[in-house]
């Protein structure tokens, strides 16, 4: 492997990490609160707003059922509005983030729903405000589940980021397509795949370890 290819590989890995990190961060910033709201706004729940809950649920489902590559193209005007351009790594972060928010929201929603309703009742009986219930009970108790949700999100983001080569986003996937496939360089393809596998493996095991540390429900051996 030539030094040029190696430099490309390093650059592409950097781009992938950059896109995944920023999209993951901003996606969590919006996705986690949305997930909490989805889990607590049903009929008779903490922030009961059944009609808002229903509308948001529909929006989330719509966003999740749009194939990512179509989403990337479809929201180009919005991307240009936010990033100033629709081409390049930074621009690619916009569709990645948009796809991440509903993804995280649904995962966080189910993690919060796993929390025993008895705990919410106990907190209400103590005189906790809705905000205190969210932060001291729901988020604290759902922490292992949310950690797993974020791990899954990052792994999915690594996969999604391979598609944004279509809008000049760069990254490992783009390198694999342009050099490995279009220029018939199977060794580059193999290395790209290998780096992706290692990345996903690292993220997954770090996430699992963290989730296990947060989870006090099982008796430690």
């Amino acid at each position: 492997m030539s030094a040029d290819i190696f430099a490309l590989l390093v650059k592409s890995t950097g781009q992938t990490l950059y896109m995944v990190a920023v999209a993951g961060l901003i996606g969590s910033l919006f996705g986690i609160p949305l997930g909490v709201f989805l889990a607590t706004s049903g009929r008779g729940e903490l922030f009961a707003a059944p009609s808002v809950n229903k509308v948001l649920g529909l929006v989330v489902n719509a966003a999740r059922s749009t194939p990512f590559i179509i989403l990337v193209v479809a929201i180009i005007p919005f991307t240009r509005l936010i990033a100033g351009t629709s081409i390049g790594t930074t621009a690619a972060i916009v569709p990645l983030t948009i796809a991440t928010i509903p993804f995280i929201a649904r995962l966080v929603e189910s993690a919060i729903r796993e929390v025993d309703p008895g705990l919410t009742e106990a907190a209400r009986a103590m005189g906790a405000s809705p905000a205190q219930i969210v932060f001291k009970v729901l988020l604290a108790e759902a922490r292992p589940g949310i950690t797993s949700a974020l791990t899954l999100t990052i792994v999915s983001l690594i996969g999604y980021s391979a598609m944004v080569g279509a809008v000049g986003g760069g990254g490992l996937g783009d390198l694999g397509i342009r050099y490995g496939y279009q220029r018939f360089m199977p060794d580059v393809m193999a290395i790209v795949v290998l780096v992706l596998i290692v990345l996903v493996q690292l993220v997954q095991s770090a996430g699992d370890r963290l989730a296990r540390r947060f989870d006090k429900r099982i008796r430690p051996r």
Binding site: R124, M126, G127, S129
Partner: protein, 374 residues
């Protein structure tokens, strides 16, 4: 020999249980006044009445128990006290404040003065024993130093100082409930609500938890309101009891009086195995309702601890010349006072039976004729 036990225990136990109830009744800790609660049943307009015109008094400083079968409305009733449920009509007055008319903000303040424990403990799995007890204090905005000063003695009180940094998953059921109790006491409440707190525990653990609740009631002067379906719980610690059935309170008062008086059908069926209330099968099989010459009279004698029965039975024989046979009997303890029933058969004519009963009544023993056998 049963009887001697009865006489000895009478003196010390009688006064304490009966005393506080009467004086406190004028200014109760909790009063339900004509409280009804209906729930919408599904999407249809039909409603289900969980509680129907409940009037209930929880005397200050008492341990008041509400007993009923599942579905009788117990859970709804206890949740009305701290406003987790709102009544459809009526007033729920806690320490002079009508809970039903408070807004959320003021309700939260009131809740901080009412502790609650639960059947499934409801401890946060992500917090240690210490941090679970600290939770209500954090919610009330108490600073870390004060929390430390409050929680440590509470761990001591419930006997789990060594489990301070353990997570709930590392504790047994009884230990979890002790942490639950410590948590409920953290804000120094004036009232403790117990929602089937021992129903998920084995009999031995149940006894130790009940003993702890009794200690707290006595030493901290905390009023305890508990709901249960277990008669054992009521008998062991409640000095006041209310029996609930189909959303209505069918009987209430000092536990000893309710359980030993002419009890309501629901109370009787809940009492179930309580000493001597059920006649043994061999007796009921051959029993007839009408007296005939030559039949033996079956008499149930109820002694409430104050009177020795043995010499009385002996004197029925010596003074009145009546032959007494003991058929069944048992002694139990209710609210710390001995209570027993003795089923005897007497071979005597009607006049003699009347004489015998008035003799027993003169000595403070009530009796009833339950039937006749050959």
């Amino acid at each position: 020999m049963m009887m001697t036990v009865v006489t000895r225990k009478t003196g010390e136990a009688a006064g304490t249980a009966a005393g506080d109830g009467l004086t406190a009744a004028a200014d109760p800790m909790v009063a339900f006044e004509g409280v009804s609660k209906r729930f919408a049943a599904g999407r249809t307009s039909a409603e289900v009445a969980a509680l129907d015109g409940v009037d209930l008094i929880v005397p200050r400083g008492s341990v008041t128990g509400i007993i009923g079968r599942s579905g009788a409305g117990k859970s709804t009733l206890i949740r009305l006290v701290n406003g987790l449920e709102k009544p459809t009509s009526g007033r729920v007055v806690v320490d002079g404040v009508n809970i039903a008319e408070l807004d959320e903000k003021r309700l939260r303040d009131v809740r901080r003065s009412i502790g609650m424990i639960f059947q499934h403990f409801n401890l946060l799995s992500s917090r240690t024993a210490f941090d679970n007890i600290a939770l209500p204090l954090e919610i009330a905005g108490v600073d870390r130093q004060t929390i430390e000063k409050r929680v440590t003695p509470l761990l001591d009180l419930v006997g789990l100082s060594d489990k301070r940094n353990r997570y709930p998953s590392e504790l047994s059921g009884g230990q979890k409930q002790r942490i639950g109790i410590a948590r409920a006491l953290a804000t120094e409440p004036k009232l403790l609500l117990s929602d089937e707190a021992t129903s998920a525990l084995d009999p031995e653990t149940t006894r130790s938890i009940l003993a702890l609740l009794k200690t707290i009631n006595k030493e901290l002067g905390l009023t305890v309101l508990l709901i249960t379906h277990e008669m054992e719980v009521i008998k062991t610690i409640a000095d006041h009891v209310a029996v609930i059935d189909g959303g209505r309170i069918v009987e209430q008062g000092p536990t000893f009086d309710v359980f030993t008086g002419h009890t309501h059908a629901t109370t009787r069926s809940l009492l179930g195995g309580l000493a001597g209330l059920h006649l043994p099968e061999f007796l009921t099989r051959q029993m007839v309702e009408k007296p005939e010459p030559g039949l033996r009279t079956i008499l149930r004698i109820i002694f409430k601890g104050e009177n020795a029965t043995e010499p009385m039975l002996a004197r029925l024989g010596s003074d009145l010349g009546i032959e007494v046979n003991i058929m069944a009997g048992a002694v139990d303890e209710i609210a710390g006072r001995p209570f027993g029933m003795l089923v005897v058969s007497l071979l005597a004519d009607e006049a003699k039976i009347v004489q015998a009963r008035s003799f027993l009544a003169d000595h403070g023993l009530s009796s009833e004729v339950v039937g006749y056998v050959r």
